[in-house]
């Protein structure tokens, strides 16, 4: 399928032809969206802002996993452990060395990337199911490490973290932390979009699509298979660090395999191999349980509630809907929300001559 651009939208230079947002309307929508987001804390309440913050954090982590799974065609069921490592690392860096939080976050990302490179090294040789098992091992080894490494994580008791602070501006509430997350989301997503339109990003996709010809093109398979683990872990680490300085408390229980599966769900639902899809998948995954909760609340006390005992099984219901959503997406929309979004955009581009 050729990418369609509206008639009259000509490119006059390669530079223009390479932009992330190719049409004038898409750039307009971008600036409008950004302006709206910047104004969000003025109009939205705590609860809504909290959801947006969560979407942003999860979106960054999901994007990392998408680079690994969607773009490079590998697999990881240990992403939550790296997310957790970033959270602890940032808290530890701040407390031990009194590094400003704004620096702790990227530093935690780099530390997590190193850990990711270590656990990703088998990816140079392993594929498919074997790699999945290796990453599962990473999940459990790191979880065990979190529980034991008192000095690093505070052990089972967990660790208190300090809020984000920059030149005296403290982001310790949803209204302010929202901007921190927004800034990181923009940086990380633009970074990924740029990666995918330069040498190393193309190499990752080439390794996924046809590794034999990738090799003939001079691409070092082992290097890129490992690198994608490093990059994925960097994203997970940064997201985890943001999470730590948002909740102001980190503890082991948050980073179980369940979260790893949820990250995979975000990537599948958003669209494998789609940068923006990762954010959509994260939004879906964050909002779905809220929607379930809302439905349950609305039904509370009614006949259905009494019959199904919704009140007691709400957490169970959440897991079920998440599972069902993943399965439904795999069956009916395997290319994820990103594709649906493209179709909608294509429809409006050609409007009113859509058919």
């Amino acid at each position: 399928m050729a990418v369609m651009t509206p008639a009259g939208d000509y490119r006059t230079s390669y530079r223009e032809d390479m932009t992330i947002f190719p049409t004038r309307n898409s750039r307009l929508a971008l600036w409008l969206g950004l302006a709206l987001l910047c104004a969000a804390p003025l109009v939205l309440g705590r609860y809504e802002l909290g959801l947006l913050v969560n979407i942003g954090i999860m979106g960054i982590a999901a994007l990392g996993l998408n680079i690994l799974v969607g773009f490079t065609g590998q697999i990881s069921i240990g992403h939550a452990a790296f997310f957790g490592f970033g959270a602890f690392a940032s808290a530890w860096l701040h407390e031990q060395f009194h590094i400003p939080v704004v620096l702790c976050i990227p530093l935690a990302g780099f530390m997590t990337a190193l850990i990711g490179l270590v656990f990703g090294a088998p990816a140079a040789r392993l594929k498919g199911l074997y790699l999945a098992i290796a990453t599962l091992a990473a999940q459990f080894i790191l979880e065990d490490f979190f529980a034991r490494a008192q000095w690093f994580t505070g052990g089972v008791a967990g660790r208190i973290t300090e809020p984000f602070e920059l030149f005296g501006w403290r982001a310790d509430r949803e209204e302010s932390f929202f901007y921190v997350v927004l800034a990181f989301v923009i940086l990380m997503f633009v970074g990924a979009a740029n990666l995918m339109r330069t040498r190393d990003g193309r190499a990752l996709v080439a390794v996924r699509d046809h590794y034999l010809s990738a090799e003939v093109m001079g691409i070092n398979l082992a290097y890129y298979r490992t690198l994608s683990f490093g990059i994925a872990s960097f994203y997970a680490g940064v997201a985890g660090a943001l999470y730590a300085h948002y909740l102001l408390f980190v503890s082991v229980e948050a980073f179980t395999i369940l979260l790893s599966i949820q990250f995979l769900g975000m990537v599948i639902i958003g669209g494998l191999g789609s940068v923006m899809g990762s954010l959509m998948g994260a939004a879906f995954m964050v909002l779905l349980p809220e929607a379930v909760q809302m439905v349950a609340d609305a039904l509370a006390g009614g006949a259905i509630d009494r019959a199904l005992r919704l009140g007691n099984s709400i957490s169970f219901l959440r897991e079920m809907t998440i599972g069902a959503a993943i399965i439904l997406f795999l069956i009916f929309e395997p290319d994820g929300l990103a594709r649906r979004w493209r179709l909608i955009k294509a429809y409006w581009k050609l409007y009113p001559y859509s058919h």
């Binding site: 390669y14 032809d17 390479m18 330069t198 996924r208 046809h210 003939v216 001079g218």
Partner: protein, 274 residues
């Protein structure tokens, strides 16, 4: 004269897969600037020979030299940078990438900006580099007449177009030697004529040495300077096209002793996705 310096030399190359002898004691030289074709019946070992040169297979015995360097044990990925490019018998494009990106992957070893400087696209010159290489890639796109599909996803193209894109990707490496494994298999007459023209231009105008496997004898006779014939993994003849064609061994092995089959193409290969 330059045309006589060998750019590639296979010295007594043998290749075995367990009990299967894919190649036995094959020696030949490809001279700088020529179009050299390998022909032979199915299973003769032609692709195996190309795989030994591109690094996919390692010869069980013998050596391969390229540009004066022994490359027998050189890893595949390092062969792009020294000037060897190839296409595959069964299509091997990056199916989900656009045509443009496929060809840009061909520039991989020429690009300097990795992820460190690629992610901050505008700051450290990654953008400048992309634009410069895009310009060269567009030249190749113009040359191979695939402008109309440059933004299309490679996997959605017709067979003939995909073959062309694969050639474009190999050309983008700027190889000194380009290995083409049945570049015209499964094409109709018109597409074959185009492809033959492209190969000739690559050789004459772009200065690439071409090593080609092809079943269509008409094309082989038309555009090759020299031809080598393999049969059951052994070299049975080598020389100018007309010489080779007149060789009684070749007639027996390859042409089945019939007299008038010279221009009859092999049955078209089914396009296979790999």
């Amino acid at each position: 004269m330059e045309a006589t310096t060998p750019i590639l030399a296979a010295e007594r190359v043998s290749l075995r897969f367990g009990g299967v002898r894919a190649l036995t004691d094959v020696s030949f030289e490809v001279r700088k600037g020529e179009v050299f074709s390998i022909i032979g019946p199915n299973g003769a070992g032609k692709t195996s020979m190309v795989n030994c040169i591109s690094g996919r297979y390692r010869p069980t015995e013998g050596r391969i030299r390229f540009d004066g360097q022994d490359i027998t044990r050189l890893p595949t990925r390092k062969r792009a940078a020294i000037g060897i490019g190839r296409t595959f018998q069964n299509l091997a494009l990056f199916g989900h990438m656009t045509v443009l990106d496929n060809i840009m992957v061909g520039r991989h070893h020429l690009l300097k900006h990795g992820f460190w400087t690629g992610m901050p696209f505008w700051l450290f010159g990654a953008q400048r580099e992309e634009i410069a290489h895009r310009r060269e890639v567009e030249e190749i796109i113009d040359f191979l007449e695939i402008q109309h599909v440059r933004k299309a996803v490679a996997g959605t193209l017709s067979y003939g177009l995909r073959k062309r894109v694969e050639l474009a990707r190999a050309v983008a490496l700027r190889p000194k030697l380009i290995l083409l494994d049945e570049p015209m298999a499964g094409m109709n007459l018109e597409e074959k004529e185009d492809m033959a023209r492209f190969i000739l231009d690559l050789n004459e105008e772009w200065g690439m040495t071409v090593l080609m496997i092809e079943h269509d004898m008409g094309v082989v006779m038309d555009i090759s300077h020299r031809v080598m014939v393999l049969d059951f993994g052994r070299k049975i003849a080598e020389g100018r096209p007309e010489e080779v064609l007149a060789d009684p061994h070749v007639r027996r092995a390859y042409l089945g002793e019939a007299d008038e089959v010279v221009s009859e193409p092999e049955e078209a290969m089914e396009p296979v996705e790999s």
